[in-house]
């Protein structure tokens, strides 16, 4: 009885001896349809577990009610919160979500973006990867008048809404906290400096040092390639050997923990000898010993806001948005700066 694939309105129409349009109308609760007909249709639809074909609907309506997410990593507490924020907002507005993880690869980002350019999604939320320097794929997206919103790692060359964290302010706060803790020789270890977010965190660091009248020492500044644990433990080797620093602002929690490990191994005590502030508030920071002072990153809010801006644009294509929304970070004090 039931076809191999799934049931269509045609099947229902056929079985009931009526036309597909009537079936369609009945299912849409169109009041024109005779109650008896409607009921018959609905019963059969239920019996066969009818579900409207997604692809046909998309083609018909010229919209997929799906938004795409281009994101560099999945196993990442911040990004994961962003995704949850996006999903929650999207679902409650009737949108689905396709996630493409680029694994920080430019090539993958290009492939994934182009795969979404052909009517698969109604709009795109993107966080550019560490290795991206050419933005043509995003430009092509935007040129088709497909709504596009950047979050966190943005692309300045494109005129679309952006949601960012005030990384400058956060870097400033983190460093100032070290100053207040009594540090005078404060090092900086951060992620790839080609990324705006890292330039900003570093900028905040410099401003705080400057304001405190502390000198900037080039040998205490490391821009790492990845922001990972290994980079962190490597980055501070020289400073540790020289016993030269008493404070460290790390651009990620993993850098911070890598650095702490190296320092502990060298016999330094944290926070007594060196106070450390990380960035992102990863859960490992509460587990590690000492627990890690860090800057919060409101990922959920960022995701929600980005989704909101995107869906606004999808629903209202003429009113072009180009604003940048800025979220703020907060200091979370734990043992690594508790003197």
């Amino acid at each position: 009885m039931m076809k191999k694939g799934s049931v269509t309105i045609k099947d229902i129409a056929l079985e009931l001896g009526i036309s597909v349009s009537t079936v369609s109308r009945a299912l849409a609760d169109n009041p024109l349809v005779k109650p008896a007909t409607r009921q018959a249709v609905k019963e059969l639809a239920k019996k066969y577990n009818y579900r409207p074909n997604f692809t046909a609907l998309s083609l018909r309506n010229n919209r997929t009610r799906t938004i795409g997410i281009i994101i560099p990593q999945l196993v990442h507490e911040f990004f994961s919160m962003v995704i949850r924020g996006i999903e929650d907002f999207a679902y409650s507005n009737g949108y689905n979500v396709i996630i493409s993880s680029t694994h920080e690869s430019y090539e993958r980002e290009v492939i994934d973006t182009k795969a979404l350019i052909n009517g698969r999604v109604d709009g795109l939320l993107a966080c550019v990867s560490k290795s991206t320097t050419n933005y043509d794929h995003f430009k092509e997206f935007a040129e088709r008048n497909l709504p596009l919103v950047f979050f966190d790692c943005i692309c300045d060359e494109i005129d679309s809404p952006k949601v960012v964290l005030d990384d400058f302010e956060a870097g400033y706060q983190a460093t100032q906290h070290l100053v207040e803790t009594g540090c005078t020789q404060i090092a900086y270890v951060g992620g790839p400096i080609n990324l705006q977010i890292n330039q900003d965190r570093f900028g905040g660091y410099k401003k705080a040092l400057n304001e405190a009248g502390l000198a900037l020492n080039e040998s205490w500044i490391k821009h790492c390639e990845t922001g990972d644990y290994d980079d962190g433990s490597e980055s501070v080797r020289d400073m540790v050997a020289a016993r030269s620093i008493d404070g460290l602002f790390a651009g990620t929690d993993m850098l911070a923990i890598g650095a702490i490990k190296t320092m502990k191994k060298a016999g330094l005590q944290i926070p007594k000898d060196v106070a450390v502030v990380g960035f992102s508030n990863w859960s490992i920071g509460t587990i590690y010993e000492p627990s890690l002072t860090t800057m919060s990153q409101p990922g959920y809010e960022m995701g929600q806001k980005a989704a909101e801006l995107l869906i606004q644009q999808i629903d209202n294509p003429d009113k072009k948005l180009t604003d940048t929304f800025t979220l703020h970070s907060e200091l979370i004090q734990r043992e690594s700066t508790q003197r």
Copy 2:
């Protein structure tokens, strides 16, 4: 010139004064098309950055070349490796991937599964959530002859291929390692016991104790709700207070680390007083002090295999597969059992 949305073959046909069929053929490199025509079409297509409409193609071909993934969590090193394995296999076979993260919620799993039942994907890879006990949504999927493959947390009630880890063997190995280390009072702390994987790990534990002639002590056995850090630190409180155990097999690395934290706080030394084996080989296990002995989980291979089985079924719907593929875990020795 260019339409607001994106360019279609109709636009190209119109501009060139030829028919859509010719354009379609030219783009498909059909040898019947006159070279000059083909070139003209291709040039215009390139100029306008033509991309075939995904939705139209899907409807036409009755296939989306997309596979869905239902997975309980994203921020999870094992699942993340599974996803990478799936993605790599899928991409290299011309498939795209839609990921739905259920956040271990049954409701979300039902919604997400049903959202993929309507022709959106050609098949589904699923790992059932901790809270799922009713499998009707998956059954509905299977009843439509949509290919379905389970991985890791499987559903036995459905007759479809499955890819699993030999959790029993792994639990056995982990416990046996503790025995070999010299432990005689070995506790078990694991995740939700309604999940088959946890029953198996626990089963392996019991077998190893049994073989070693060690007694099973009920007060040393804890089935936690989540498998998280907090559960871990809570679970061992009594045993620690009683100073009763000298070995611990934890069903997840986070449980292990939570437990270690509690024990360290109570003045116990790891591994001297209590040796600990975790499960899953999360990266935190290399960073934590002491570094954690654990069981590997070949997530990438699992993802690849699951994707392979699924795509095999999609490409060959008649040959129904129902086998279960079993992967194996390996012991990774680190400090937490080094005596």
